[in-house]
Amino acid sequence: MKPLTLLLFLLCLPGPARAQVLEVCASCPLPTVAAGLEQAAPYDTVWVRSGVYRESGLRIEKPLTLMGEAGAVIDGEHQGEIMQVASDSVSVLGLHLRNVGVSYTQDHAALRVIKSKYFRLENLKLEGLFFGIYLEKSSQGQVCNNQILGDAKEEFNSGNGIQLWYCQDVEVSGNTVHRVRDGIYLEFSDRIQIAGNISSGNVRYGLHFMFSNHDTYTNNLFEDNGAGVAVMFSKDIEMVGNTFRKNWGTASFGLLLKEINDARIAGNRFEENTVGISIEGSNRIEYLNNDFRANGWAIKVRGACYTNLFSGNNFMHNSFDVSYNSKVNDNRFEGNYWSAYSGYDLDRNGYGDVPHRPVKLFSYIVNRTPETLVLLRSPFMDLIDFSERVSPVFTPDNLLDPEPLIRPRP
């Protein structure tokens, strides 16, 4: 919603108690945002007119709506935090916050929400960042359609775009996060909905989960990050319809799963990542109908991973489709499409008549001696891969897709 229509809409609302609109502008009776916030009664609206306000350390301690006109800029001049919300039912809308103070001892944010409920942060633009939006022990809020543009170069002196720490039931959607450390970071945060965000060019992860459960992220785009998405020590995460692209670098991946149980990964696209999904110690995960295209490794399984199901995925033109470092296999591959499949379908039921073995001997060798990768695409390697496929010696015998699809799932 446009700020102005939103304003009109808000003005028409029957406020709990004579809700007012307080105008802040350079020539107004209230020339600073701080003054506006000070004057406002609970459930009032503070309307910040276009202009640059050089303020920091703002604190909202009562339920209200703080709204910026297009061109309303609060410049923190690198003095610590710009704004803190420490009350329920606060909305911060349409403002442009810039120049957060960088500190090595404190995580300064452009906008911090502390122990609050029912907050709404929308249409904000954050620039010149350390941390962007920092949600702390807060719940039932929304972070929508914000633009967060950092200029991070290294991990150690940069902060995260949107960080959730001990939060529950927050919706994070439609945001664009670019050039920060982690685009979106969740720690001890449950039941978070992350949808339709674009997280790109970040130094570390596009999206990062730590010890967070029952979260969902759908239809996001993670592109060109140090690594796409890292999900660690969490359970019951839904990952649906996301795109992981061009997370390309020596230690890079589209999606990292580490100690994850009971997750569902469905309908995602993994394109041109060094590793599509890197899996360590993750069990009971369903990988359904994902597209893996032109990755170095589509799926790299490390450590013990049990009872996972891979079904209906398209594996197309990856250097390695599946890499395994163990001889034991307790995972099932069923009805996937493999562009490397060389079988046939005589009965024309859409499934290949001979099983497909997705693990190449070469990938096994590369696991052992990484330098051998210089022989990638050597005819000799194709030859020994072929012989291994015919009679497996080194790769798990039961690691096969008994009924591979003949055509890619559309």
Partner: protein, 260 residues
């Protein structure tokens, strides 16, 4: 000498093999692009073809041409022409016509699919350059083997074995030594072993151009640091040049002392 090149070339233009070869590449280019529609992907797939088939075809074609043009050679030997010119001329004629087939055969489909507007153009150019080098190298090796063996069957066998060695067996030995010595730092060794084999060198050059180096971890970084610089590129092309010059020089030497 250029007269000999011209006559060899004309001779080849008349033989249907050059057209078969040309048509093969043309078809390959179109099929590849028809299936892929993506020039960059096409380049990767073509690489596989180029590093295996170009050397093989150059080897077979070179040996075949040498043996089937023995009459022409005999005729020329009695003429007031320097021996080295005769063989160099024929060699350049064959290598030239093979390279032309390659460049035109693959070039046409790619140009028609909009190569000049594609960012893949430099990858493609590199692909063709290495392809042409492989043609030059393996035709020279084939000529050398054929010149050293009057028995056609033997010459053919040795030439194909040489191809097999460089294309396949070499990598096997390479792989084994990498695994055997995995305890040691192997990056310089891998780099050296790659430089020593023209097929491996071509493959690596193209792969790195296509930015597969990220897959290679630390070794990839070492490779990228070497091949990625213009100096590394120059060294690589220099090595390919050396690989061409050495058999050609041996060919000339051998030709000078051979009885016909």
């Amino acid at each position: 000498m250029f007269k000999i090149v011209r006559y060899s070339f004309q001779d080849l233009l008349r033989s249907r093999w050059s057209y078969v070869y040309f048509a093969f590449y043309l078809l390959l280019g179109f099929v590849m692009l028809f299936l892929n529609h993506d020039l960059a992907k096409g380049v990767i797939t073509l690489m596989n073809v180029i590093i295996i088939l170009v050397p093989l075809i150059a080897t077979i074609f070179g040996v075949m041409y040498y043996y089937s043009s023995r009459e022409f050679t005999a005729l020329l030997l009695a003429q007031p022409i320097r021996r080295s010119r005769i063989f160099l001329g024929q060699y350049l004629g064959v290598a030239g016509s093979l390279s032309l087939s390659l460049v035109l055969g693959l070039g046409l489909p790619f140009v028609l699919y909009g190569l000049f507007r594609s960012p893949a153009i430099w990858d493609f150019v590199l692909l063709l350059v290495t392809g042409v080098f492989l043609n030059l190298i393996f035709t020279a090796l084939a000529f050398l083997v054929a010149l050293s063996n009057d028995n056609r069957i033997k010459g053919f066998g040795y030439a194909v074995l040489l191809w097999l060695f460089l294309a396949v067996v070499y990598d096997g030995i390479f792989l084994l030594s990498l695994i055997l010595f995995e305890e040691y730092p192997l990056d310089s060794f891998a780099l050296g072993a790659t430089l020593l084999n023209p097929i491996d060198l071509s493959r690596t050059l193209i792969l790195l151009k296509l930015d597969i180096s990220a897959l290679l971890g630390y070794t990839g970084a070492v490779f990228k640091a070497f091949f990625g610089t213009s100096l590394g590129m120059l060294v690589s092309l220099g090595v390919l040049g050396l690989w061409t010059a050495a058999p050609v020089a041996a060919l000339v030497r051998k030709a000078r002392h051979k009885d016909f």
